[in-house]
């Protein structure tokens, strides 16, 4: 159950909006997403933190030698090992 309100992408401005737009472009391209996912929305309360994690996501999940699927296989396995259901 969600106990912490996530940020509505339709009500943000400035840096948060720019990052949410970039997140949606990425998630639409890779997953066919139509809205910004909750894992990014929940970080939108602190723009600099959102920016820091988005920059790491770009560096670690979008650049390199592996395909998106190869990285996602590792990511899914790690999430299961960490008992994370998200």
């Amino acid at each position: 159950m969600t106990t912490i309100r996530t940020v509505d992408p339709g009500r943000v401005t400035g840096k948060t909006r720019d990052i949410f737009d970039a997140v949606l472009r990425r998630e639409t391209k890779v997953f066919g997403a139509t809205t910004v996912s909750n894992i990014w929305r929940c970080q939108g309360h602190v723009a600099d933190y959102l920016e820091a994690n988005w920059e790491r996501s770009r560096v670690l999940m979008q650049r390199g030698r592996f395909t998106p699927l190869q990285r996602e296989l590792v990511a899914t396995a790690v999430s299961v090992a960490n008992a994370c259901t998200y």
Binding site: T2, N38, R41, G64, A75, T76, V78, S79, V80
Partner: protein, 177 residues
């Protein structure tokens, strides 16, 4: 899980991925429980069977392991973990057969499975199996950049897993219709 399905992995692929995940986790648990601290460690909680010792069944099984594991890892002898399991031939046989089934080419390639297993070992901080999987990957041609790329995914998902649990968000990543 929904994310890999959206990237085109079907039920067979997902089952293979979960098989690698649980097998890699169980292998790391075994190595840690046996107090094997690094890949060269010979002095575990239970003594490893020496070279040609054991009954005929054990010798035959270890010969099978020896034909596959040292060449795959670029090393001279079978990792001690297998020789410790050889104290119980049934345990060695069932675990070795499972390793072969789980880690071979299927819907997912053996290389991608091994990289995934390394990610799991890193995530549970199992030094023995980190060294084991990394040795196999290096022998297959992976280099420093590849190993660091796997760590990067582990690192980033440690962040995201912690955050999603801590913020108690609901999953909104749905599989394709």
């Amino acid at each position: 899980m929904a994310a890999v399905k959206r990237l085109g992995v079907d039920e067979v692929g997902v089952t293979e991925l979960m098989a690698v995940t649980e097998h890699a986790r169980a292998m790391s648990t075994k190595a840690a429980a046996l107090l094997l601290e690094c890949l060269d460690d010979e002095g575990g909680l239970v003594a490893a069977v020496a070279g040609e010792a054991g009954d005929e069944t054990v010798r035959a099984l270890l010969a099978e392991v020896r034909a596959v594991v040292p060449p795959a890892m670029g090393r001279r002898d079978v990792a001690a973990l297998w020789r410790i399991l050889a104290r119980n031939p049934h345990y060695l046989r069932s675990t070795w057969r499972k390793e072969q089934v789980v880690m071979r080419d299927g819907a997912l390639t053996a290389r991608d499975k091994r990289r995934t297993a390394l990610g799991v070992a890193m995530s549970v901080r199992g030094r023995y199996m980190i060294e084991y999987h990394a040795a196999v990957l290096r022998e297959a041609g992976d280099g420093e950049a590849d190993l660091l790329e796997i760590l990067g995914v582990v690192d980033h998902y440690t962040t995201l897993n912690t955050l999603s649990e801590g913020m108690q968000i609901e999953s909104d990543i749905v599989p394709p219709a």
